[in-house]
Structure formats: structure tokens, C-alpha cells
């Protein structure tokens, strides 16, 4: 009532104690003694209470006592004002349609659309229905309403795209659309296993039931998982997800013209690399395609750009600027060659502080391995660089003082860290475990196995900010890699050293792809910020995944231009490709899906309880309740004295 809810509703049972004064009033009425008295005339003159008035006072007294007990119980139940109760009244049905690349197999999406249509038609009469598509993000294509025709029309209009499936994000968006209502989500999907691997804060309220409707998937799939240019030409990787070996023919085209073809034999469940000689061509858009009539259509084509581009520049800040302080990181970056190569430059903290702002603006990403010498000006430069879209990698080794970073990014960076003397005493060595294997940082690692070999003897304890994602953890559960959006920029915090202080990571094969992809991710972040805000940023990145780029350019695979004036055809060409993990048709069953949803609901319940606690802490209605209790007790005392 009135949106009032309770954090500890069990205490409301205490309100039953209100029956005690009522029972005493009804069944144990005290009989006043009768005294024969002579001087009644003076009593009358003293405005003696009449019986009717006394009865009223007794009722008032009972009411006050009942109120005091009820208020006490309510105060203990810790009340708070919930959202409008009216919102909770009407259940609704939201149909979630998977439009990711993994729905692009022949006939697969038509089946999904038919299931969605049937789900809408079978929704209870009088119940609002909405349609949400997910694949490249999550879009509410038909808001909740009683308009079934509109919902059906929206379903007819949707098609499978090239995006990646992300159940967490989809359910989170659906929960947002449903608001505080109760209802059900009907998820029409191919139950692709990798779709649960993405990180995210998806949560589903316990008031919502989630039903999954299997749209089916292909038994096999052959797709091109990679296409890039190196010094020797184009390299395509073909992956065969079928239980038998295949021999597909890859067709290559440059700027739309057929350039050649290569046949390759790929074993069951394995991949094969295909090299294609570009014959000295240094520019143009390269397309590789494979004929796969059974599997997903979206991954049959992959794009690459051969246009020359500047190598990204990475500035590494160390305590003294000595090459040995960034030895492993520098060497890891120097091994990159060709169009995607990275140019590292090592500076001391004091040199960084004296850097001209325009010089810093040319830097594509910044890595800090030491903070000594970073003065006030250096901190201001750092804050300006990040807030304007720059990417920062912090290797939280012993040479990095967290106070310097916190002061420099004060008000921007929410994550905090502090050193810990040693790793957890019961586990002498920590291991590295990615939380989100689909994060771009882990793009080239091809699985988590190589990372788990890394041993950490020293690390820092990171408290992630509210906008931060934990994309990797140590084996004791503490965050190992934090990705936080900071202003227009992005900060990656690696919770240990990147120069072999306290860990063996630089000696592991996974180190090179890890740091390269981390810095490319940061560099890309800066580039995409520039693209979305219209600011001129220099970037060398030539490949993006569907959904990476804002707007229509990034919504489907192909070759697009970015960075130029709209409609002018200027800017540079980049390739937009399907996420390679969408090619994996491995599926989970509905029970496993339900188990994941249950975890989300459990998390939502925990979060809701925390939110309610915060709200209750903010409102502190129990204090008003206690004040009211005191007032009612005082009134009870006054009235009780008059009743005797």
C-alpha cells in the first residue's frame, strides 16, 4: 500500500501482538470500584468525565496501544517506499528473438520467426506483449503493449544479422523493458553455448519466468574465422565444426573482383590456414568466402583491408625510462609487424610530465609501468589524455603507486587497488582465469589454456569501480584484469607487474598476444570514441567486429568507411567481420540455459536486496516510525492517566 514495502517483513508478524491490548480491552475489562460519596456536588463542579467520554478515551487508549505495537513491528520490518505498485499489477510477455550470426543457417531464422509468431499469438489475452531482438546489441523492436498486430509485424520485419549472441545483455535489456512488472520472457534462440561466455551484469527478476524455445541449429558449420594481411600476403583461417573432414574452396576477391581461389582440406573439428598471394598489391578491400550450404551463412565471408596505415604508437612510462624497465612489453610489441604493428616508445615519469600535449595526442595508447617522476603536470596530462578518449594500460607492479594514478584520475577512475604482501597464504601461487573469453583482449589467445599456466607470486587487490568490468580473475577470485570506461577513455588495470616482477607472465607465450591485443583494444577504444564523437583521431586499426562501430556501419559485415565527413566518401576503409566465436555451433540444452537464468535471478535477488537496503538506509523510515512510537506512547501515557 502506498508503495510501502519492507526489508525484513517477518518482523511484521510482531504486529500480531496488537491483539493483546484488544483482547484485554474486550475480555478483561477492569471494573471500577464503587464508593458512596457525599460531596458529589463538588465532583460535578470539577467537570467529571462522563461515561461516554470515558468510553471514547478507553477506545483511544486501545487504539494508541495497538498503534504503538504495530509501529514497533513496522519499524523493525525496516520499511521503504517501493516503486509504484501499479506497475506491478500487470504481467506481460516479452518475446526475445536471437538475431545473431548463429541464426543464419538455411531455414533457421524462418523457424525462429515462426516460433516467435506462435508465441505472440498464444500469449494470454489482455496481457501486454513486446518483442526484443538480440544479436548486435539488444533492441526493443515492439514495446510492451496490447497491440498484437504490431508485435507480429515487428517479428516479420526482423532478420538475422552478423552480431554475436549475448544472453546476459539481452536478458538485462528485457528486464529493463519489463520494469517492475511480473511476466515471462520467451527466448527464441539456437542455444549457442558461447553466448553465455560474455561478461555482463545481466540479471533477471524473480518475478519473471524465463522460457527458452529452441530454434535449432545446424549439425555442422564451416566458416572463415580470420583473414589478415602480413608480409607474405593474405592469410585466412578456415574452421570446420562438423564431425567429418571437408575440403572447401576459398574464393578471394579484391575490391569486388575475383582474385583467385584456394582449396583446403580441414579435418573434423579443426581449422586450417590458407595463404593467398596478393602479388604485390598493397591496397584494396580483400574478401574471402567459402561455400558452406549447411552451416551459418554469416561466417562464409570475411573481409580485410589492405590499405596502408600508420602503425599505432604506444607510450610506455617507467620510473627511469631505462629500456630494461619495459623490456618484456617493448619486445612483445616490437615483434608485431606489418599493417597491425605497434611502435613502442619508453619514457621516464619525469619525461612524461614534460611532454607537450600535442605530442601526447599523437599517442594511440599509454602503458604505465612506473609512476616515479610523474609530477603535477604529468598527472594533468594523464587526466586530459584519458578523459579525451585515450586508452591507458596500468601494470600494477611495485613501481606503480596507486595514489598517483588515483590523484591523476580523481573523479574519473572508480576502481581502486592496494598492494598485498603476498598472495593468499593457502595458495602460494595464483593462476590467471579470464571471466570473459570473448573480450577483445583475449581475441587471439584461442582459449584460456595458455593463460592458466601463468603463475603469480605477487599481485595487488583491486576493488572494481561501479562501471568497471572484471574480465579476468586470479584463482582466488580476486580481480586480475579490470576494464573501466573513464570519461571518454578506457583504462585496463592489470593486477600485477608486466615486467616479470612477481609473475612469470612475460615468459609465457600468451604474453605477446595478451599485451598486443590489450593495447590494440585501447587504441581501438580511442579510435571509436573519435568516430562516435566526430573528433579527429588517428588509428591504424583496419578490422572490427559487428557491433564494434557505432551506427549502421558496424551493424553488418562488410567494408565500410569511417572517420570521414558523412556522405563524402572520404575517411579510411575498414573491415567489419562476424565474431569468429559465432561460428561454433556447439549448443547447450534448455536445462543448462535454465540453470544460467537461475544464477542470474539469484544475482538479481541479491542486487535487489542490496538496492532495497540502500533505499531503506536512505529513507530511514524506521526512524520516523520510532518517533511516531514515542509520540503514541506519550499520548498513551496521557490518555491512560485520564482513564485511570
Amino acid at each position: 500500500m502506498f508503495g510501502l514495502s519492507f526489508l525484513s517483513p517477518l518482523f511484521l508478524a510482531g504486529a500480531a501482538a496488537a491483539a493483546i491490548p484488544i483482547a484485554l480491552h474486550l475480555f478483561h475489562r477492569r471494573i471500577d470500584p464503587v464508593i458512596d460519596f457525599a460531596a458529589i456536588r463538588y465532583l460535578r463542579a470539577a467537570t467529571v468525565e462522563q461515561a461516554s467520554r470515558r468510553r471514547f478515551r478507553e477506545l483511544l487508549l486501545v487504539a494508541l496501544r495497538v498503534a504503538a505495537l504495530v509501529i514497533l513491528a513496522v519499524a523493525f520490518a525496516r520499511p521503504y517506499l517501493a516503486a509504484s505498485a501499479a506497475d506491478l499489477a500487470a504481467p506481460a510477455t516479452l518475446v526475445l528473438i536471437d538475431t545473431s550470426a548463429s541464426l543464419s543457417a538455411p531455414g533457421q531464422f524462418a523457424r525462429a520467426r515462426a516460433l516467435a509468431t506462435a508465441a505472440i499469438r498464444s500469449a494470454p489475452a489482455g496481457q501486454a506483449v513486446g518483442v526484443l531482438t538480440f544479436g548486435n546489441g539488444a533492441d526493443l523492436v515492439a514495446p510492451l503493449s496490447l497491440d498484437r498486430a504490431g508485435a507480429l509485424a515487428a517479428v516479420e520485419a526482423v532478420t538475422a544479422g552478423g552480431g554475436a549472441t549475448g544472453y546476459r545483455a539481452a536478458l538485462a535489456r528485457a528486464a529493463e523493458a519489463l520494469g517492475d512488472r511480473s511476466g515471462r520472457f520467451l527466448v527464441i534462440t539456437d542455444l549457442q553455448k558461447s553466448a553465455w561466455d560474455t561478461a555482463g551484469d545481466g540479471s533477471v527478476s524473480g518475478r519473471v519466468s524465463v522460457e527458452v524455445i529452441d530454434a535449432g541449429g545446424p549439425a555442422s558449420n564451416v566458416g572463415i574465422s580470420s583473414l589478415h594481411i602480413d608480409v607474405s600476403g593474405a592469410v585466412a583461417v578456415v574452421h570446420n565444426y562438423s564431425p567429418r573432414a571437408v575440403e572447401p574452396r576459398l574464393e578471394f576477391a579484391i575490391d569486388g573482383r575475383h582474385a583467385g581461389s584456394v582449396q583446403v582440406k580441414v579435418g573434423a573439428g579443426s581449422s586450417a590456414e590458407v595463404r593467398f598471394d596478393l602479388e604485390g598489391r598493397s591496397g584494396g578491400a580483400l574478401t574471402a568466402s567459402v561455400g558452406d550450404t549447411e552451416g551459418y551463412a554469416a561466417d562464409n565471408v570475411r573481409y580485410a583491408v589492405m590499405d596502408a596505415a600508420d602503425r599505432p604508437s604506444v607510450l610506455i612510462v617507467t620510473p627511469s625510462g631505462a629500456p630494461s624497465e619495459a623490456l618484456y612489453l617493448s619486445h612483445a610489441l616490437e615483434v608485431t609487424e606489418g599493417a597491425g604493428g605497434i611502435r613502442p616508445r619508453v619514457l621516464s615519469g619525469s619525461q612524461f610530465s614534460e611532454l607537450a600535449p600535442e605530442r601526447l595526442a599523437e599517442v594511440d595508447a599509454l602503458a604505465i609501468l612506473g609512476t616515479r617522476g610523474i609530477g603535477r603536470r604529468g598527472r594533468e596530462l594523464l587526466a586530459e589524455y584519458v578523459s579525451q578518449g585515450g586508452g591507458l594500460l596500468v601494470g600494477a607492479g611495485p613501481a606503480v603507486d596507486p595514489v598517483v594514478i588515483e590523484e591523476a584520475l580523481s573523479g574519473l577512475l572508480r576502481s581502486r587497488w592496494r598492494p598485498r604482501a603476498a598472495v593468499s597464504p593457502d595458495k602460494a601461487v595464483l593462476r590467471f582465469a579470464p571471466d570473459d573469453i570473448r573480450h577483445p583482449v583475449f581475441r587471439l589467445l584461442g582459449g584460456v589454456g595458455t593463460l592458466t599456466n601463468v603463475a603469480f607470486e605477487r599481485s595487488v587487490l583491486v576493488a572494481p569501480g561501479e562501471n568497471a568490468d572484471v574480465i579476468a580473475r586470479f584463482s582466488d577470485g580476486s580481480p586480475a584484469l579490470i576494464d573501466e570506461q573513464v570519461g571518454n577513455g578506457r583504462v585496463l588495470i592489470f593486477a600485477s607487474d608486466l615486467n616479470r616482477e612477481g609473475n612469470s607472465f612475460p615468459l609465457q607465450p600468451a604474453f605477446v598476444p595478451f599485451v598486443v591485443e590489450s593495447l590494440r583494444y585501447l587504441e581501438f577504444s580511442r579510435a571509436s570514441t573519435g568516430a562516435s564523437t566526430g573528433t579527429a583521431t588517428r588509428s591504424s586499426r583496419t578490422e572490427y567486429l559487428v557491433g564494434d562501430l557505432p551506427g549502421a556501419e558496424g551493424a553488418s559485415p562488410g567494408i565500410v568507411r569511417i572517420g570521414g565527413a558523412e556522405g563524402q566518401g572520404s575517411g579510411r576503409r575498414v573491415a567489419v567481420n562476424v565474431d569468429a566465436r559465432e561460428s561454433d555451433p556447439t549448443r547447450i540444452d534448455a536445462d543448462a540455459f535454465g540453470a544460467m537464468v537461475s544464477r542470474l535471478q539469484s544475482r538479481a535477488a541479491q542486487r535487489a536486496r542490496a538496492d532495497l537496503q540502500d533505499r531503506e538506509d536512505t529513507l530511514r523510515l524506521w526512524q520516523y516510525g520510532l518517533a511516531l512510537l514515542i509520540v503514541s506512547l506519550a499520548a498513551e501515557s496521557v490518555v491512560g492517566r485520564r482513564v485511570g
Binding site: 464508593i35 458512596d36 468525565e49
Partner: protein, 299 residues
């Protein structure tokens, strides 16, 4: 009870003594014996002695016959006339039956009337007794004969509580019936309209009669000591009033004080003595008040 009061008998104790005559005798004789050491010596009715006049003595007390014979001024003390009629009016209304500490107001009033009658008889004053509630219940005409005291005491022994209080009506009736100069002693709890009571008593004053009013009250009526919520039943009408004493105590006392102030002011203005008698106080105080008033009335 003060130290001075301790030498007198507690009325509650006195009420447990044998007959009313014995109680009256005990009070009066004890009282008179005490007077030899008291400033009320001048109102004794025993032997009249002569002594030489001293400055300050009332000139009316000089015996001019002795002066004619001896050419000296002597005052003749304590010689009294016997032609003073004292009319005792005792209220028998139901409210007089209230008593919170072993003696009711009626018992106290009866003992007081008996004591006064005893005292008056010893002064050879004529004594009458009238009992009333809302009307006159019984009446003995005034007489100074020795056997009359026994009749009065017998009548007091037989009194029973009557009905409602209506003090003024009997007073008017009695005032019209008194033809001789005398004194009226009203013993009542005065639980009536003060204006009507005062009006009735003024009637006596118009006829030159001295009046003493003994307002008899029980201590509980004065202090209102009750604690818990109580249903108070009117002893005259049976009406009930529920009250929380703690809440109304002060207002009750204020109402009582206001009524007493009316009596004190109105009766004082009419030349009527007004005495509040708490039934816990010894009767001797009432006798002192009587003699004091009587002395003033003779001047």
C-alpha cells in the same frame, strides 16, 4: 493532629464510648477542666466571684451595688442569665452518613450537639434540638429544666439518616418560629446551594438571633485522597460519576474551596460565625468556638 489536640479525645475513639450522655459528659467536663488554664475562663457558668476592677475590664461587669456599699469598684464575674435559648439544628440528610475514618459526619454532629446541649444545660441556658433533612424531622422545644437534657440526648440517640439535603427550607421555618432572643447552632455538611443556605441563615439574623454554623466535613471530602479510577455514588440521589481522582483532584479541591469561601464571606458579612469542623478534629474545638461566639453575642 497537633500537640495541643493530643490532650483531647479523638472523635473516632469517643464514638466508641458508651452512651451519648457519657460521651457528652466526657467532652464537656474535660473541656471545662481545661478552661481553668485557658483564656476562656470568662465564660464559665460556675460561681460568680468578685474582684477589684482592673483597667481593661468590661464596665458592664462592674457590680454597682457593691460599689454603693463599699465605694469600691468590683467586677462580678461569671454570673449568667438563664434566659438564653440555644437552638441546636442537626442535619440528618443522607450525605451526613459519610465517614471515611470510623466516624460519620452524623455521629460527629450528634456528639457535638450532645456536648453543646450538656454545656448549655450547665450554663442554665434553654436548649432546643431540631433535626432535619429536606424538612424538619423532629423538634424539642427549648427548656432549661434538668430533665430536658436527657430528652435531648435520647432524641440524638435515635436519629437516623434522612433523605436529601435542603437546609434553607427548615431554616426559614425555624426562623419564623423563634420569638425570643437566642442563639442558633447549625450542624450540617452544607451540601446544598450556598446562596440558599446563606439566605436561610440571614433570616435568623434579621430576627436578632446569633448564629453559629458548624460545617462538618470528613477528611476525605477535604483532601480527596482517592487514587484509581472510581465510580462515585451520590449518597443522596444514587447518581454515579466515574472519575479519575488524579485528574480531577485539584479541580475538586478548588470547587470545595470556592464553596467554603462563599460561606465564609457571605456568613461573615451577615455576622454569622462559620466554623469548618473536620471529623478528625476533637470536639473541644467546636465547644471553644461556641463559647467564643456566645461571649461575643452577650456584649
Amino acid at each position: 493532629m497537633s500537640a495541643a489536640e493530643l490532650r483531647f479525645l479523638d472523635p473516632a475513639v469517643l464514638a466508641r464510648l458508651g452512651t451519648l450522655e457519657l460521651r457528652a459528659r466526657t467532652v464537656v467536663e474535660g473541656f471545662l477542666s481545661g478552661l481553668h488554664r485557658s483564656p476562656f475562663r470568662g465564660f464559665s457558668v460556675e460561681f460568680a466571684e468578685y474582684r477589684q476592677y482592673l483597667p481593661g475590664d468590661d464596665l458592664s461587669t462592674i457590680d454597682w451595688k457593691v460599689y454603693a456599699r463599699s465605694d469600691r469598684h468590683y467586677v462580678k464575674k461569671f454570673e449568667e442569665d438563664t434566659n438564653l435559648d440555644c437552638h441546636l439544628l442537626l442535619d440528618l440528610s443522607a450525605s451526613m452518613g459519610y465517614g471515611s475514618r470510623g466516624v460519620t459526619k452524623l455521629e460527629y454532629g450528634s456528639m457535638l450537639a450532645a456536648s453543646l446541649a450538656f454545656l448549655m444545660q450547665r450554663q442554665r441556658d434553654g436548649v432546643s434540638l431540631t433535626t432535619f433533612d429536606e424538612a424538619i424531622v423532629s423538634r424539642l422545644p427549648p427548656s432549661a429544666r434538668p430533665g430536658h437534657l436527657r430528652a435531648i440526648l435520647g432524641m440524638l440517640d435515635r436519629v437516623r439518616l434522612g433523605m436529601r439535603t435542603d437546609v434553607s427550607r427548615p431554616l426559614h421555618l425555624l426562623a419564623d418560629g423563634i420569638s425570643k432572643r437566642g442563639m442558633v447552632v447549625l450542624i450540617s455538611d452544607l451540601l446544598d446551594d450556598p446562596a440558599r443556605v446563606v439566605d436561610g441563615l440571614r433570616h435568623f439574623r434579621f430576627r436578632g438571633t446569633d448564629v453559629i454554623v458548624f460545617h462538618v466535613m470528613d477528611p476525605a471530602e477535604i483532601t480527596f485522597p482517592f487514587e484509581r479510577a472510581t465510580r462515585f455514588r451520590d449518597m443522596e440521589s444514587g447518581d454515579e460519576i466515574v472519575a479519575v481522582p488524579a485528574v480531577i483532584r485539584e479541580r475538586y479541591r478548588a470547587a470545595l474551596r470556592a464553596a467554603q469561601e462563599i460561606y465564609r464571606g457571605e456568613l461573615g458579612a451577615a455576622g454569622i460565625d462559620y466554623q469548618i469542623l473536620d471529623t478528625s478534629r476533637p470536639l473541644e474545638f467546636a465547644l471553644m468556638a461556641y463559647l467564643s461566639a456566645r461571649g461575643r453575642g452577650r456584649k
